[in-house]
């Protein structure tokens, strides 16, 4: 009989993480810690928006047009109310709108990257593992898509989707169409990286050992190859997240993204730029700063992740 009485208990997941080189590298990088703190702060405050925000900007009933164009921290001439970051043309509190708008930006960003990731990883694994004509078709499609700027692809998809959806569902569908459009314009780099990594991994003997016992290609791809190609994917996903947030802002800025009743950061910037030269700078300034902080810190985090996960740089 075997007994485990002589062996020490296995260290828990949390302890293994605390003792890992990854965590150690994190505690040694002020940039990583700072950007992680900023991202965490922004994500948390947008998640808790209903608790933190003084107003609900998505509820038209709570808006008072008289409060329009109130400067930050200055009492409104008519109502006497005062706002941390001022109000926009419709009397929406900019601070609350940023919190709620960031929810849309982050949701669209995360969902679009997830969509691009699933699509890209699947196609990359297939083309790397099977090669031949499967690879030719997938990778040529990727090449063709890369010849169009991704924002153009997203706008095209958005335009087509808008045309085929009935008018009454358009505002509801807008967010999902955004996600689909941004995700579809972004899968190529995932597919390329995964294909490259798959080519390397499938030459290794552990894959041969799995094929030797007769495992099916899908099992080998998911169980054996996928976990070994995820590190570069994680890095790209982080950097893509920043890009997707910016893409969403760009589309909304161009007026093809989030509907005006549910403004995202991009919509706010679009509203703000109309009043920039008439003195109401705050409508543009605060959302733009938030977008900058969000995109920059996610990018820096991705940059650090790339260094930390790349064994060749150690």
């Amino acid at each position: 009989m075997m007994s485990d009485s002589t062996t020490p208990p296995a260290p828990g997941r949390f302890r293994r993480f605390r003792e890992s080189d990854f965590f150690y590298a994190f505690t040694r990088s002020p940039v990583a810690m700072a950007s992680f703190a900023v991202v965490a702060l922004l994500v948390l405050s947008s998640l808790l928006a209903p608790l933190i925000a003084p107003y609900n900007p998505f509820d038209p009933a709570s808006l008072n047009l008289m409060n329009g164009f109130t400067a930050p921290l200055a009492p409104n001439a008519f109502t006497g109310e005062s706002f941390l970051m001022g109000t926009d043309d419709q009397g929406r509190d900019v601070f609350s709108t940023i919190l709620y708008g960031m929810r849309i930006s982050l949701f669209v960003g995360f969902a679009a990257v997830l969509f691009a990731m699933v699509l890209g990883i699947t196609l990359g694994l297939l083309s790397g593992y099977f090669g031949g004509w499967v690879e030719t078709i997938i990778m040529r499609a990727a090449d063709i898509q890369l010849t169009f700027p991704s924002i153009l692809v997203a706008m095209l998809i958005f335009g087509v989707a808008k045309g085929v959806t009935p008018v009454e569902y358009r505002d509801e569908m807008a967010i999902w169409v955004l996600i689909f459009a941004i995700g579809l314009s972004d899968w190529v780099q995932f597919a390329r990286v995964v294909r490259g990594a798959t080519l390397v991994e499938q030459g290794k003997d552990y894959v041969a050992a799995a094929r030797l016992i007769g495992q099916r290609p899908t099992t080998i791809m998911i169980r054996h190859i996928l976990p070994n190609v995820l590190s570069p994917v994680l890095v790209i996903a982080t950097i893509s997240l920043a890009l997707a947030i910016i893409a969403e802002a760009t589309l909304s800025f161009l007026g093809v993204g989030a509907p005006p009743t549910q403004p995202s950061l991009g919509t706010l910037i679009r509203i703000g730029q109309g009043y920039l030269f008439s003195g109401e700078w705050w409508i543009l300034f605060f959302p733009a700063c938030t977008l900058l902080a969000l995109a920059l810190s996610v990018n820096l985090l991705g940059d650090w992740l790339r260094d930390a996960l790349n064994p060749r740089l150690k």
Binding site: M2, T7, Y206, A209, A210, L212, N228
Partner: protein, 565 residues
């Protein structure tokens, strides 16, 4: 004796890590005289290469010298600044690395690289440098140096490339050459020539050579003096005859006894007992749980009948435009029940391709493989599944054969789950037993592969291979990535498997002494063809084919070692 050209005194290297300070080199001292070849031998991680890197000032930070002195031609060099070290590195000390492909720049011709180096160090005119470069190429026995001068590194074979690297090392007329495993990446036939060249040049030019190697055969054939290192320390220092003939340190003694001999066949490999060693292989316990291995009706478990494998060299939509490279050309042999059949040959001879066709990893382009009377080509999906259950494979590289993201227990359990050999609840129990039998610690199942050494990983591979209780085991260079001491343990395990369980094996190797010790019959492959099949004894004592004779003559002779044990 003359003044030493290089002298290392009490050298200690330190690497600070987050888990504390590591000393990969501790208190190492040795001298090198002009024209002397000093072999530095030891297991991987013994600090052999690290000492060499410290000498030329190429330690990777944060590693640094904390103690000791290095004297070069009467001048102390360890304390020089970076710039002075850089100058000394090219001029006085040259290096020859293991892989000749990466030490040459692929974008420049061989001639350009030689001329540039000569001009840099000797400051001569371009035409004078070219003259010297041609003379060097001629000296390292490159045929048609005039023509070869304008060729790129990829146009040279591995052995030729290493000759160019040697020529490059001689450019600055150095007084010391550090050769770090210079022949490990080369075939035996080429290895002997390159070593002879190094030997000649050391004598002729009075250059001191530090030859870092793990191969006792190389030490015995090439070196004048030997330094044996173990765990960062020098355990023995002396002339080659003295160290190999009458080793004084127990580690040296056991290291020498673990080297497979080409001449005598032993029952078991003597194990290295010095230092901390892994747990034993529990063959009796394993044998008790093993069902009696079935024998085939014909006595021939596996028949390979004229198999051929061609790889696509140039693809095209039009079939007649495609061109192929024939890796295996109509190879036929039989493997009898319970025997170990060896397949030897140089790299590229097609021996691994044969193994992979037997393992169904490559489809065959011709011929057939018959297992226990049933041809592979007639097996349906069920027949193939049954076939795969009865064959298993142990791979060469223990670092790539285990999935780094899976726990060891899951790796070993995988064949059991896949073939549904046991009820789910009993799998864990069996996995732990298997790991225990191959000599791993009790908590091995919950660790990941990177937590184990090369030898331990190869034991995990063996446990995975034994999980399905196969009848036939394919071993593709199972020990060539391992140290000689670990090699002895793994080979003993394989021998136990054959004797106690009656396993039939295909053993692929380029190492003839190992083949002599392990195999019952041997096939010799050359350029995709099987040139000779013989009983091991007959093959080694009376080879028939000219190529076999050539291979045998190139084996390092280890007579000196035999007097020692």
């Amino acid at each position: 004796m003359s003044e030493p050209v290089l002298s290392i005194r009490n050298l200690t290297v330190e690497i600070p890590t987050r888990h504390g300070i590591v000393n990969p080199v501790r208190n190492v001292s040795y001298d090198l005289h002009p024209g002397e070849i000093r072999g530095v031998v030891g297991e991987s991680g013994a600090g052999k290469s690290m000492t060499g890197n410290a000498v030329i000032g190429l330690l990777d930070p944060p590693a640094h010298i904390t103690q000791g002195e290095i004297w070069l031609k009467g001048e102390r060099v360890d304390a020089l600044d970076f710039e002075a070290k850089r100058r000394m590195r090219g001029r006085e000390i040259s290096m020859i690395f293991q892989d000749p492909l990466t030490s040459l720049n692929p974008l420049f011709t061989v001639g350009e690289q030689l001329v540039e180096t000569i001009q840099l160090h000797l400051g001569v005119s371009a035409s004078e440098a070219k003259k010297r470069a041609l003379a060097l190429l001629d000296r390292v026995s490159i045929p048609n140096p005039e023509e070869r001068f304008n060729q790129y590194p990829h146009q040279f074979s591995g052995g030729m490339r290493q000759r160019v690297v040697i020529a490059l090392a001689l450019c600055s007329e150095p007084s010391v050459i550090i050769a770090d495993e210079p022949t490990t990446a080369l075939d035996v036939s080429v290895q002997a020539q390159v070593l002879d060249l190094i030997k000649e040049l050391a004598r002729e030019r009075q250059v001191g050579v530090i030859l870092v190697t793990h191969d006792m055969g190389v030490i015995a054939d090439t070196t004048d003096t030997v330094t044996v290192m173990y765990a960062g320390e020098v355990v023995e220092n002396g002339t080659t005859d003295q160290v190999l003939g009458a080793p004084t340190h127990p580690y040296t003694r056991s290291l020498i006894s673990a080297v497979p001999r080409p001449t005598v066949k032993l029952d078991r490999f003597p194990l290295i007992e010095y230092g901390k060693r892994e747990g034993g292989f529990k063959i009796e316990a394993l044998a008790q749980s093993w069902p009696r291995t079935k024998t085939s009706d014909s006595g021939r478990l596996l028949e390979v009948k004229g198999v051929t494998k061609r790889f696509l060299e140039r693809g095209s939509l039009i079939p007649s435009w495609r061109s192929y490279f024939t890796a295996v050309d109509e190879v036929s042999f039989d493997i009898h029940d319970g025997e170990v059949f060896g397949l030897v040959g140089e790299s590229g001879s097609g021996k691994s391709t044969v193994a992979r066709m037997i393992a169904t990893l490559y489809p065959m382009d011709g011929g057939d493989i018959v297992f226990d009377g049933v041809p592979l080509s007639t097996m349906g999906a069920e027949g193939l599944a049954a076939y795969r259950r009865q064959i298993q494979m142990i791979f060469q590289d223990p670092f790539s054969s285990l999935n780094p993201r899976m726990k060891v227990g899951d790796i070993v359990a995988e064949p059991l789950h896949h073939h549904r050999l046991l009820p789910r609840g009993e799998v864990d129990q069996r996995v732990r037993q298997l790991l225990d039998w191959v000599g791993l610690a009790k908590d091995a199942w919950r660790k990941y592969p990177h937590e184990f050494s090369g030898g331990q990983r190869q034991r995990i591979s063996i446990a995975r291979a034994l999980a399905t209780q196969p009848r036939f085991l394919i071993c593709d260079e199972p020990t060539s990535a391992l140290d000689v001491s670990i090699q002895a343990q793994i080979l003993n395990i394989l021998k136990d498997l054959q004797e106690h369980l009656g396993l039939t094996m295909l053993f692929i190797s380029h190492d003839l002494p190992v083949v002599r010790q392990v195999c019952d019959r041997v096939g010799v492959m050359r350029r995709g063809q099987l040139v000779e099949v013989q009983d091991t004894e007959t093959l080694f004592t009376a080879p028939e084919h000219g190529y076999t004779r050539e291979l045998l003559s190139l084996m390092p002779k280890l007579e000196q070692l035999d007097t020692a044990v």
